[in-house]
Symmetry: C2
Subunit: 194 residues, 2 copies
């Protein structure tokens, strides 16, 4: 019992009290339920791996995006983490595939291009027929540095390289926009004339 | 005393207690201070007016932006309120002039194009030599509607019409971006290749 509580406490946001409550709940639940939970935890690590094409977390290789016949395999959106894919998917407008870097460049923390999945991206662009690489790293310091590095690294290939727009967020007043976002909104203005 | 308290209570965020405190403070202050406050209040309304060119609040007509010889008078940034100008000025990158609409289109509240300073904008574009009109209304429902209406109204003139970029705000993670901002960030992506 004490060992289970110790293990449960390692979960994010779970303290001694919650861990104890979870442990007693498992104790009281049926043998089947306990076994199912144990098996699900076991299987997660055993069956989940990274997609050999895009590095997304998946249980089948290649992942659902890379294997999809309806997705545009010539359009690659580069993101920081597997969770970033959800942010792009929520728009319901993107029909291409992904490439997950698993981090951003951060020289201060010893993260260089070799610590990220950049090599497989360059190999992909060289090997496959790709029309456009969208650099969708976050508009943070590290995200911008990563995008700039990737744009330079991809310069040798005949592929369109684009960067997602930074600007005033939708639904907000420009009065409350920070200087950098407002500045980018002005620089990134687009023609409205048809 | 009661009349002063009643008048002070009309200020935003000032209730009976604050108004009383202000009134007693004025009572205790020197004759000079009280006279200076009264004069400053009087002068504000007497001296402030709207710029006859851009409708910005100003004490000289035309306003400092419209009269500036170093500003590009052929580049006009259209904003909702005089306070929006501060948001654009904070970027320190804009060197054109402004046009203040004093509101946004809002049919539900009975605000049509005639209730805004749209006529003077159209007259300005027709009369003066203007290269570009930047529609910098906020990316809200009303702001977008106003920009769309203005773009259509300006279509007849030989002027470039642009809209500020909407997207993920600078410094924030794309994981926390709302769907619309992320969607706009993807649609508004720009080439990074030189």
């Amino acid at each position: 019992m004490a060992r289970l509580i110790e293990e449960l406490k390692k979960l994010p946001g779970v303290g001694s009290k919650s861990a104890q409550r979870f442990a007693f709940h498992i104790l009281r639940s049926s043998d089947g339920d306990a076994a199912a939970l144990a098996e699900a935890v076991q299987n997660l690590k055993a069956s989940l791996r990274l997609c050999s094409i895009c590095n997304n977390v998946t249980d089948v290789d290649p992942c659902a995006y890379c294997a999809s016949p309806t997705r545009n395999q010539r359009l690659v959106c580069v993101v920081e983490e597997p969770t970033s894919i959800a942010a792009v998917e929520r728009t319901r407008g993107y029909q291409g595939v992904y490439h997950v870097l698993h981090g951003t460049l951060s020289p201060l923390h010893g993260v260089g291009p070799d610590q990220l999945r950049t090599g497989t991206l360059l190999a992909r662009v060289e090997r496959d027929e790709i029309d456009e690489v969208i650099l969708a790293t976050s508009p943070t310091l590290e995200g911008e540095a990563t995008a700039t590095w990737l744009a330079a690294a991809l310069r040798g290939f005949s592929v369109r390289i684009t960067r997602i727009a930074t600007g005033v967020p939708a639904g907000s007043d420009i009065e409350y926009a920070d200087e950098v976002s407002m500045s980018r909104a002005m620089e990134g203005r687009h023609d409205m004339r048809q």
